[in-house]
């Protein structure tokens, strides 16, 4: 089951430079030492490695806040269209097809989020957040009104905090209310003339809709702040509610969550950002608009500039467009309906307590006296992917679970079986899990204490 490293299969040192070299030796390296293997050997290597990896097509993948839904195959074929494989520095007149698709995707996303203008450039959700916060900053600066704080609920995604800090803001952390939602009193205490923005996801990270969103928006707007929507949980609301209608001024979309582009083991994603009219002039540049008979790029008047060297993750955007167009209004609305139904059905079948509700597309169960991370490891033995664990912290030993709309009742029941089996087991059993996986429990401490980050760092003991 163990697959050697490429470097353990071969290591070939090629001398560089010399008489046949097109460059003088002082401009070249001396040698290059890497594995040199034949195609059949490589095909087996990567095939075996793939077999040691769990994907959406292996089984259910109920990672809360990650929206691991099925990635339709045809979107890969669409993205592989050779006519779409163009260089970004072409003339605009020679890339009308590409511009047209980008234009329509801007438009689709605007309609879905209730936003007036959209940039597609951010290459991931966090980059979208950063773009959005830079827009907020540019807006305040244009108002002659620099502000220093961004308010973020304690239960928010870690990227929100990191993003606000990267943009130079102080983070004001907002404790949750007893009902798991924003505590209006705490918010009232937090907002001020220093508030640049409140970053919020809705439904929040335990799946609850912020019922007071209108009041929240008013409170932030009243002090001159902006409301930022973290799109990670948009899959709960498609066709039922739009951030723009709730008073949000800025939002990002995670197309690798909501619009089913593949997660690719960690990326690439794309994090388009939508804003209301008033902020459109600050968006990153360029964007696409119609002109006479075609499409063109333009720079918003007070653009924040660039957040990616070119136009973002093009291939991901193509897949997102194809997905949205495949589903259309009815499909998008249904996706959210079934995502919420599945979460509620699964929630009803597990024996663990779910402190907060009513939840939507995800719920945060608690493992109580059990260690949630251990429960997750034990679930691996039952052949399913476990939920996100120990987060958000407002739920002790949280197991944040989001089955998505693609699971059927049988796989939801399989998940419930895995939860419930672990529920009945003792700590000893849980701590020693998993036992049926490619690797057994992995020592995280050793990895961090003695970092070995390349095959060059392997001592003899490892070889």
């Amino acid at each position: 089951e163990y697959e050697p490293l490429l470097s353990e299969k071969d290591s070939t040192k090629v001398e560089v430079g010399g008489d046949d070299s097109p460059l003088p030796d002082d401009l070249t390296r001396d040698s290059l030492e890497l594995p040199e293997l034949s195609e059949p050997e490589l095909a087996r290597h990567y095939t075996r490695l793939s077999q040691m990896n769990y994907g959406v097509e292996t089984g259910p993948y109920p990672l809360g806040s990650c929206t691991m839904k099925y990635n339709p195959k045809f979107t890969e074929d669409v993205a592989a269209d050779p006519n779409a494989a163009i260089h970004p520095d072409r003339s605009e007149r020679s890339m009308q097809g590409t511009l047209e698709m980008l234009y329509h995707l801007q438009d689709y996303l605007g309609r879905i989020g209730g936003m007036d203008a959209v940039t597609l450039q951010p290459p991931a959700g966090a980059a979208g957040e950063f773009t959005g916060i830079l827009v907020a900053k540019a807006y305040h600066e244009a108002q002659g009104n620099e502000r220093s704080e961004v308010i973020i609920p304690a239960s928010a995604h870690g990227t929100n905090f990191a993003t606000a800090a990267m943009a130079g803001y102080d983070v004001v952390e907002l404790p949750s209310g007893d009902d798991g939602r924003v505590d209006l009193d705490a918010l009232e205490a937090a907002v001020s003339e220093d508030t640049a923005a409140l970053m919020l996801t809705n439904p929040n990270t335990v799946g609850l809709f912020e019922r007071d969103i209108t009041e929240i928006a008013e409170m932030v707007h009243d002090v001159g702040g902006l409301l930022y929507y973290d799109g990670a949980n948009l899959n709960a609301l498609l066709g039922r509610a739009r951030p723009g209608d709730m008073g949000f001024d800025i939002m990002h979309y995670n197309v690798h969550k909501t619009f089913a582009t593949p997660h690719g083991g960690g990326g690439p994603g794309a994090g388009p950002v939508g804003v209301v009219d008033e902020l459109a002039e600050f968006l990153s540049s360029p964007q696409v608009r119609r002109n006479d008979g075609g499409f063109e790029l333009f720079d918003p008047e007070h653009s924040i500039g660039k957040v990616h060297g070119f136009y973002g993750n093009w291939l991901v955007l193509v897949k997102a467009y194809a997905y949205i167009a495949r589903l259309g209004d009815e499909g998008l609305e249904d996706a959210s309906a079934k995502a919420v139904l599945n979460a509620n059905y699964l929630g009803s079948q597990i024996e663990y307590d779910i402190p907060y509700g009513p939840f939507h597309h995800e719920f945060a169960a608690t493992s109580g006296e059990q260690d949630a991370a251990d429960v997750a490891k034990r679930m691996l033995d039952y052949g399913v992917h476990p939920p996100t664990t120990k987060w958000p912290e407002m739920v002790p030993e949280a197991m944040l679970t989001e089955p998505t709309e693609v699971e059927n009742r049988e796989t939801l029941d399989d998940l419930a079986t895995a939860f419930n089996a672990a529920h009945g087991e003792d700590d000893e059993t849980l701590e020693h899990a998993p036992n049926k996986t490619t690797a057994r429990r992995i020592d995280q401490v050793s990895a961090a204490r003695n970092p070995r980050l390349s095959w060059h760092a392997l001592g003899d003991a490892d070889e």
Binding site: L5, L6, N83, R90, F161, W314, S454
Partner: protein, 443 residues
């Protein structure tokens, strides 16, 4: 087709199953599951028509066919090398493509090993012992390097120096990334396509936090004074950040040997076809800065059976643990692109990488010489060795020449009033004769 008759084709529920599940949950309708106040409920329509898979493939095929059928001689940071079929076939295996970040390493050993091997290849290419799993692209890599320099600064200053020729896209990204710090961005002069070392020496001082140098430069010239530059940067305790790409690194001076503290750039040159600028940012650095690295790192550990196992490590640097004190806000990265680049690099092997890189030098030199023979063209403008691309002087206005070339079916860069830039790799080398002929027509 699916039993799920309307709505999402990727949701499996029949109406009966939906009804039964609603019943279990204890509500009458899907609508009842939504806790949305009326005043913010959306009752309108998006106006997006659903199209079938076949229809949509046809529609998008026709749409992309609206892009002109040009042979591109374009580079300047985004390059096209032939991607072997092996890369597509293996990377599309769903176990790789449809997996999430490896937060459960026990069932994601395969992807972790691929990323570990990717890191290892970058360590070999850069000579630096630490390489992360990916940044978004070269631009965000430089920007993260500047922020790392800010965190680890040995100098007291605040200035980040970049070449005056830096692409506007990269400049803009760095500007935004350092906008939340007290860093300022400034540029240093170039001299005949290389760094003006004397001018740089003048510019670097104790207010300098980082100097960014590209090799090859955006104009295709190979930098000739890297070691000197490294020395002068280090003399002022600034960080030396070198930008390159993984094909160029296979041939050109090893960054570690010229004193680079951080190496950034593109690995997208392997693994991806031309992708409208989509990138794969590399990030490698010295051991000293390990705990300041942005992005994910895969390390080796042991499992409960004492067998070697891979895992994401040093996650306390990252946003999901460290929140506002994280080294970066990056979460989703370019892992799958890194996987593709790793497979491509492995399929080339060291000989293939060096051969490919040498061809980048030879083909550029040959094309430059041929264009130089065209009346009205002088190439290369810079008296340097070149990698893949070079700048040519046009007697006619460059924009007009480029427009005429486009009419002939070729795309080139306009980089000055009388300057055109041309990039050649194995994927357009077969069209060089036609390009030269077109130049003869229009120049």
């Amino acid at each position: 087709m699916t039993r799920h008759e309307q709505g999402s084709p990727y949701a499996p529920h029949t109406s009966e199953e939906t009804a039964a599940m609603l019943d279990v949950v204890g509500v009458d309708s899907e609508e009842a599951l939504f806790d949305i106040p009326d005043d913010v409920a959306f009752t309108g329509e998006f106006g997006i028509d659903s199209r079938g898979e076949r229809e949509l493939r046809g529609e998008l095929s026709r749409l992309f066919a609206k892009n002109d059928d040009l042979t591109e001689f374009l580079g300047r940071g985004h390059y096209d090398h032939y991607v072997p079929s092996l890369v597509d076939n293996l990377s599309l295996r769903s176990e790789f493509l449809t997996s999430y970040t490896q937060y459960q390493p026990e069932i994601t050993q395969g992807f972790l090993q691929v990323l570990f091997e990717y890191q290892s290849m970058l360590v070999e290419l850069t000579g630096l012992p630490i390489a992360n799993c990916s940044m978004y692209d070269a631009a965000t890599g430089i920007a993260e390097a500047a922020r790392l320099a800010n965190r680890v600064r040995q100098a007291s200053g605040t200035t980040v120096l970049v070449p005056e020729t830096l692409r506007a896209g990269k400049y803009g990204v760095v500007e935004n990334y350092v906008g939340g710090t007290d860093l300022t961005l400034d540029s240093y002069p170039m001299d005949d396509g290389n760094v003006d070392v004397d001018a740089l020496a003048d510019a670097v001082g104790d207010d300098t936090v980082m100097v960014y140098v590209e090799n090859p430069t955006v104009r295709g010239a190979i930098e000739e004074n890297l070691a000197d530059i490294g020395e002068l940067v280090h003399d002022e305790d600034a960080l030396f950040c070198l930008g390159s790409d993984v094909v160029a690194l296979s041939l050109l001076e090893e960054p570690a040997s010229v004193g680079a503290d951080v190496v950034v750039g593109e690995a997208e040159v392997l693994g991806l076809p031309t992708s409208f600028g989509m990138g794969l940012g590399i990030f490698a650095t010295r051991e000293d800065y390990l705990r300041q690295v942005p992005g994910r790192l895969v390390g080796i550990s042991e499992d409960a059976s004492d067998r070697r196992a891979y895992t994401l490590t040093l996650q306390t640097r990252e946003q999901h643990i460290r929140k506002e004190r994280a080294t970066s806000n990056i979460c989703t990265n370019q892992a799958w692109v890194a996987l593709r680049a790793a497979i491509h690099a492995a399929s080339l092997g060291p000989s293939g990488l060096v051969d490919l890189a040498e061809d980048c030098v030879r083909d550029a030199a040959e094309l430059a010489a041929r264009l130089d023979d065209v009346s009205g063209i002088q190439a290369p403008v810079h008296d340097r060795h070149h990698f893949r691309e070079f700048v040519a002087h046009t007697d006619q206005p460059a924009a007009a020449v480029a427009e005429d070339l486009e009419a002939e079916g070729f795309a080139v860069h306009v980089v000055g009033e009388h300057e055109i830039q041309v990039c050649v790799t194995e994927t357009n080398a077969d069209h060089v004769d036609a390009l030269v002929a077109a130049f003869e027509e229009v120049a």
